[in-house]
């Protein structure tokens, strides 16, 4: 997959520039004090057609917020999201609803993301009813086809979500996302709520569907192992910023940013004798409402120097699209 994505054949599907989302939180007895949380604080990247881009980071690093802005479900404070030449941030509500045909989403929790009062047929069929001129019978046939594609069967058409297991529900969610034949699907931690044995099934299903439907995927996860299986490129986020972005194999082999290195060393190994030297991160994720100055990672970085406390490093290209934001990248 990686070789096929070398530069000449790459076509940019989505271009994100300077994307920011700041939330205002009112604090204090009379809610007079306004604290600004910089959930996403200046993010730039591209999504190429046909690839899977993994976005990884701890809870609260802004990865899901980024996902919602890529979908146009959330208005960014600043920055642009260009999808096939159109800037999503400038579209009106009607145009945004239209763009749903092309950008879909699979949510994290298959238990709460399906309306409990709708049957599978209604859940999967609703987007078709909305965006196409198909007749009822055609919609039903299409829903059945989609259910088969994701590994469900026709008899389950009239069932309600609560009659399914977590994995099956996520399959319903995937079928729903596929219904409109979108170009881009944002997967917001689609497997983290599932059993480990089911996780692999769903990941394999997504991989299979990607090939079949020529999909572009953005795969948001909080751990590297989940995205390793499925991603072509991986972006690592920390406190609302991308600290490193690279091809998957390159990232795993030569991490440049100390945070990526720490994430890699925290992946459990398969065999006890293979136990490697682990360098657990010290301390907790700083409060996003009050992030540290300079490089946001300097409070937990084992290599931090004076300059890291005062000046924030820019993303720099080190090797054919391997970008990292660090004053002292790992050689």
């Amino acid at each position: 997959m990686t070789t096929a994505l070398k530069k000449p054949s790459r076509k940019v599907l989505m271009e994100v520039r300077g994307l920011k989302k700041h939330f205002e939180i009112k604090k204090g007895t009379f809610k007079k004090e306004i604290v600004e949380v910089k959930a996403v604080d200046g993010v730039d990247f591209e999504i190429y057609e046909g690839e899977t881009l993994g976005i990884v980071g701890e809870s609260g690093c802004g990865k899901s917020t980024t996902g919602e802005m890529l979908l146009g479900l959330l208005k960014p404070t600043e920055g642009t999201v260009k999808f096939m030449g159109k800037d999503l941030t400038k579209l009106n509500k009607k145009e945004l609803r239209e763009i749903r045909k092309d950008i879909q989403v699979i949510f994290q929790d298959p238990y709460s993301s399906l309306n409990p009062r709708m049957t599978v047929e209604q859940i999967i069929g609703e987007p078709l009813q909305l965006h196409t001129s198909m007749s009822k019978q055609e919609i039903r046939e299409e829903v059945i086809r989609l259910m088969k594609v994701v590994g469900l069967n026709e008899e389950q058409l009239k069932r309600y979500p609560h009659e399914f297991s977590g994995g099956q529900r996520q399959r319903i969610g995937i079928a729903r996302a596929l219904a409109l034949k979108p170009k881009l699907i944002i997967c917001d931690e689609p497997v983290s709520a599932l059993d480990v044995s089911i996780q692999a099934q769903i990941l394999n299903l997504l991989k299979k569907l990607q090939k079949e439907f020529n999909l572009t995927l953005v795969f948001i996860a909080h751990g590297l192992p989940a995205v390793r299986h499925i991603s072509d490129r991986i972006a690592v986020m920390y406190l609302g910023k991308i600290v490193e972005i690279a091809e998957r194999d390159e990232l795993f082999a030569n991490p440049k940013h100390p945070y990526t290195e720490a994430l890699l060393s925290s992946i459990p190994v398969d065999h006890p004798r293979l136990r490697r030297k682990r360098e657990p991160l010290k301390g907790d994720l700083p409060n996003p409402a009050n992030p540290p100055g300079g490089c946001p990672f300097h409070t937990r970085c084992p290599y931090a120097q004076e300059i890291c406390k005062t000046s924030a490093p820019e993303l720099k290209d080190y090797h054919e699209g391997h970008l990292a934001a660090c004053h002292f990248p790992i050689e």
């Binding site: 479900l73 239209e98 749903r100 994290q108 929790d109 409990p116 009062r117 609703e126 969610g173």
Partner: protein
């Protein structure tokens, strides 16, 4: 269906118990003879009347006789009207139903839009006004609201009649009196229920499908948010039918509530017993209806057979 039947069977012991409690309470709270005869009546006359009414028998024999008649559909004769008590009570039912339904209509018309609006506009000024109004509405007792409405609309403005029944205009003030109290409670419930649903993931899913926001709220959110509201509506309807004692008295509305108050005052035992019996059945029926509607509204609810 089996669920329904088994619940209907469960009603029987409940009704039996209610009849026993009411039977005893009516007898320990006062002596009808004292009210029926003039103060100048002699002790012998009182004793004769007691004997004739069967009030001198031991309580369990009285109850046994009473139940024997009840099973045949005979609740005894009203001491005041000298007519079968059940007939007198049933005569009042249409008036009670009319008032209950129109009050519920007022409550729904007020609370559903208000609750939805304040949930969508949460923490804004309009939300504050609506929540404040519903606290106030809940805090004002019915009889006071009734009297204030009479003062304003009947006495001062002369738009609506003071009391009585017969025309649609007579229905307006009592319906508003009862409806606003229930609306206050329902508004708060709808608001919180809506807020919960609006924050749920499947609303995000609905938005991600590209649905119009109005459609998201009406189809996806409201239908789920109304499930708990249905319970309150069913419970309130049953209270409205029998429990509107004060409002019916304030407006002289010829419903069961008013009848019951009069019957209690006059120690008209047969009427009190028949009325409470009917009210009990109505309460049970409306709860049962709520159960069934619930099942229809929420496919997750499955009743074990």
């Amino acid at each position: 269906m089996r669920y329904f039947i088994s619940n209907v069977i469960k009603i029987i012991p409940v009704l039996f118990l209610i009849s026993l409690i009411v039977f005893i309470l009516v007898r320990v709270t006062g002596d009808p003879v004292a009210l029926m005869l003039p103060e100048t009546a002699t002790d012998q006359e009182r004793e004769e009347l007691r004997e004739a009414l069967g009030l001198n028998d031991p309580l369990y024999i009285q109850y046994f006789n009473y139940m024997k008649d009840v099973l045949r559909g005979d609740f005894g004769d009203s001491l005041r009207y000298n007519q079968p008590a059940l007939g007198i009570v049933l005569e009042r039912l249409p008036a009670s139903f009319t008032l209950a339904l129109s009050s519920m209509a007022v409550a729904v018309l007020l609370s559903v839009p208000a609750g939805i609006y304040s949930a969508i506009k949460r923490n804004t000024f309009s939300d504050l006004i609506i929540t404040g109004a519903s606290v106030l509405g809940k805090a004002m007792p019915n009889f006071w609201v009734g009297i204030m409405l009479i003062l304003l609309f009947s006495v001062n403005l002369g738009i609506f009649p003071v009391s009585g029944s017969g025309t649609l205009a007579h229905l307006v003030l009592p319906s508003i009196t009862l409806g606003t109290g229930i609306a206050a409670e329902m508004t708060r419930l709808i608001r919180s229920s809506m807020l919960e649903v609006l924050n749920s993931e499947y609303i995000r899913t609905a938005r991600s499908k590209g649905l119009h926001e109005a459609f998201v709220i009406n189809k996806h959110a409201l239908r789920n948010a109304l499930i708990p509201v249905v319970t309150i509506m069913a419970l309130q309807t049953s209270t409205l039918i029998g429990g509107t004692l004060i409002t019916e008295t304030v407006f002289s509305w010829p419903g069961m509530g008013q009848l019951l108050v009069q019957a209690v005052n006059l120690r008209d035992m047969a009427v009190v017993q028949a009325a409470t019996f009917i009210i009990a059945i109505l309460v049970i029926l409306s709860n049962l209806t709520a159960d069934l509607v619930y099942r229809y509204l929420d496919p997750r609810i499955k009743y074990e057979d």
